[in-house]
């Protein structure tokens, strides 16, 4: 469901800043990285999901407060894990990422860029 290769590609592709001699040794959340990575849009979206969404929305019984909250909301009418949903559209994903809902805050473009959002939508909407 979540190809780990995409995340590795995301990390490996982060360029050092041209204006600073110290090379980055990690840049997991570097913005706009998606546009710099290899792989399909959906694979890049998996990396975005892993980085930003997984801590709340993973498919797990515990340590997944977003999944738990949706389970209580939908009571079986829809799958609680976002990766199991088949009804998510890019517009709906953008609505939640840019407006938030309940305790989930909205995400700035320095966190999830428009390119990252398109990739995330491709990943979640294509499943």
């Amino acid at each position: 469901m979540r190809p780990s290769i995409a995340l590795a590609a995301l990390i490996a592709s982060v360029p050092a800043s041209a204006q600073d001699e110290t090379p980055p040794i990690a840049a997991w959340s570097r913005t706009a990285a998606v546009s710099e990575t290899a792989g399909t849009l959906s694979e890049r979206g998996a990396a975005v999901f892993n980085n930003w969404c997984d801590a709340c929305h993973r498919n797990a019984e515990q340590n997944a407060p977003g999944t738990r909250s949706l389970e209580l909301k939908y009571r079986g009418e829809l799958p609680a894990p976002l990766e199991d949903r088949t009804d998510l559209t890019p517009a709906l994903i953008e609505l939640y990422v840019r407006n938030g809902v309940a305790t989930m805050p909205f995400y700035r473009k320095t966190e999830i860029s428009d390119e990252d959002l398109a990739a995330l939508s491709a990943y979640l909407a294509d499943d």
Partner: protein, 532 residues
């Protein structure tokens, strides 16, 4: 387009932003309504009201040199800037500026982990590095060091430390500002300084020895607006061989005095290394009408409370903490803990979890109480606890400092319960937490909403809690941006001499008043005089 900052014409604002675009490129200057709205405080207690704080624009540099250039332009135009690190200081104001109309200086793109030294057990990071980032880096590289994470893993090491947040592991690490060692700061003039040993470029001990030589100045850059911190070093905890998490209960309300005294003693002699919480399973119970009546009465006797505790069949107090170290040391610590607390009749000891490190990815993922083991999560961010429940939307942290004494913990429960009752509200749960070596934080959550009516009620509650707890000597240590004037006002010795000193420093260090105007109620001269 958002309005220009106060004091700037549209033309001046446009010219300033054009200069900033030359520095960092158009893609990283955000000025449309849609983009700037992403800098609102998602948990604002003023959501949608006239007083809600808004940014006028946001800029996102990626290098220190860009930060310096931006600050110089801000001086030229008197453009108010509001630096944020990861921007996730939710419950304390998030990414929204204190002074409405400021341009947010979003440092999230500065997200490099510049150094991790496994032998020295230190790191050096930029402001955009989150706890998740650092944790993943350590695991990916098989580095046997722990971070001490705040409850929300999306928080940043630097931002949380500068707001003096806390975590759960060893005493050298969980007071996040205290765990830092060395800073780099862009001053409000654009000049770059490094503190401690970092003031000598050849020093090998920037992240090892805090003071360097001369006045130790790092403290003035926390909860303040005297510069833009672009690097900070931190001490990291060596992964222990093992850990044991325990839960201890005592049955009677009056047991709190011996319970807290002994726990404090065990922390002082380093038998207990971790953050230690003390809460009441009885008083933090459900919305049972009898419980609400007792709590809001603000002073029921021990005998009355003990009868209630018997009726719900719960021990009155509980404590949770973790023992870290070599297994044989943990065994000795646990034996000593049981010896000391065994003096309280009816005490019950439970071992709730034991771990041997390192954990596999699957084992780490399965840990329920992650922050106590340096594992970041967002586990506190669930919106619902029951089917059909109205989801929660946000909250304010109300966390007064008390002495670690049973009488103060009970006094706080009684006072806050009475205040809730007088406002017709159900009292919040409260937890005493020993984040710090000597003082206890008593954490409460005051809910916030996306509607004005409920938020007005929450603000009235919050203001009464702050004010009346302060009258009893229980001051808050950190506060949401909207309430920072109120928060600082209670630090009033000698007619607010401390606040005057803060503003004296502000005038000297930031004469044009461009950095984070109003943060912790420190205003630059031109806005002080204008608002007088």
């Amino acid at each position: 387009m958002p309005n220009p900052p106060p004091g700037l014409s549209q033309r001046q604002f446009d010219n300033a932003l054009a200069r900033l675009e030359e520095i960092i490129g158009r893609d990283w200057v955000f000025r449309t309504d849609e983009d700037v709205a992403l800098y609102r405080d998602a948990y604002s207690p003023l959501w949608g009201e006239a007083e809600e704080r808004y940014a006028s624009a946001a800029v996102a540099p990626v290098t220190v040199e860009e930060v310096q250039d931006i600050v110089r332009v801000a001086n030229e135009f008197r453009l108010p800037l509001y630096p944020i690190s990861t921007g996730r200081n939710l419950t304390y104001g998030g990414s929204a500026p204190v002074h409405s109309g400021s341009v947010v200086l979003d440092l999230k793109r500065m997200n490099r982990i510049l150094d991790v030294d496994e032998r020295d057990k230190t790191c050096l990071v930029e402001p955009g590095v989150s706890y998740f980032d650092m944790y993943r880096y350590l695991r990916q590289n098989n580095i046997r060091l722990w971070i001490d994470t705040a409850d929300p893993g999306w928080g940043g090491l630097i931002g949380n430390a500068l707001d003096r947040g806390g975590g759960y592991t060893g005493i050298d690490y969980r007071d996040h500002f205290d765990a830092h060692c060395g800073m780099e700061i862009v001053l409000p003039t654009g000049e770059l300084v490094r503190t401690g040993m970092g003031a000598n470029e050849k020093a090998t001990t920037w992240q090892l020895f805090k003071y360097g030589m001369g006045p130790w100045i790092d403290g003035i850059f926390s909860q303040s607006n005297f510069g833009v911190v672009t690097k900070m070093g931190f001490w990291l905890m060596e992964e222990p061989e093992a850990a044991k998490q325990v839960s201890i209960t005592v049955p009677r309300r009056e047991d709190v005095h011996a319970f807290v005294d002994i726990l404090h003693s065990l922390m002082s002699d380093h038998t207990i290394p971790s953050q230690t919480s003390v809460a009441s399973p009885v008083m933090n119970g459900s919305a049972d009408p009898e419980l609400v009546r007792l709590r809001t009465s603000g002073g029921a006797s021990d005998a009355v409370w003990n009868r209630y505790a018997d009726s719900v069949d719960r021990p009155f107090w509980s404590s949770t903490f973790v023992l870290y170290g070599a297994q044989k040391v943990i065994d000795a610590q646990w034996e000593h803990v049981r010896d000391r607390l065994g003096a309280i009749p009816g005490v019950v000891f439970r071992e709730t979890a034991s771990y041997a490190f390192p954990l596999s990815d699957e084992e780490a993922e399965a840990v329920p109480d992650k922050a106590r083991y340096g594992i970041p999560s967002l586990n506190l961010f669930g919106s619902r606890n029951a089917p059909g429940q109205q989801p929660s939307e946000g909250h304010l942290d109300f966390s007064p400092m008390i002495r670690p004494r049973g009488e103060e913990l009970i006094g706080l429960y009684d006072l806050t319960g009475r205040i809730y009752g007088e406002l017709g509200l159900t009292p919040s749960a409260a937890i005493g937490m020993m984040f710090h070596a000597r003082a206890m934080i008593c954490f409460h959550a005051v809910p916030t909403f996306r509607n004005a009516e409920d938020n007005r009620r929450s603000r009235a509650l919050f203001e009464r809690l702050v004010t009346e707890c302060a009258e009893n000597g229980w001051n808050i240590y950190r506060i949401h941006a909207h309430f920072q004037e109120l928060g600082m006002s209670i630090y009033d010795f000698n007619d607010h001499a401390l606040h005057r000193l803060h503003e004296t420093l502000k005038d000297a260090i930031d004469p044009r008043g461009v950095i984070s105007a109003g943060r912790y109620d420190i205003w630059p001269r031109h806005l002080r005089e204008g608002s007088a």
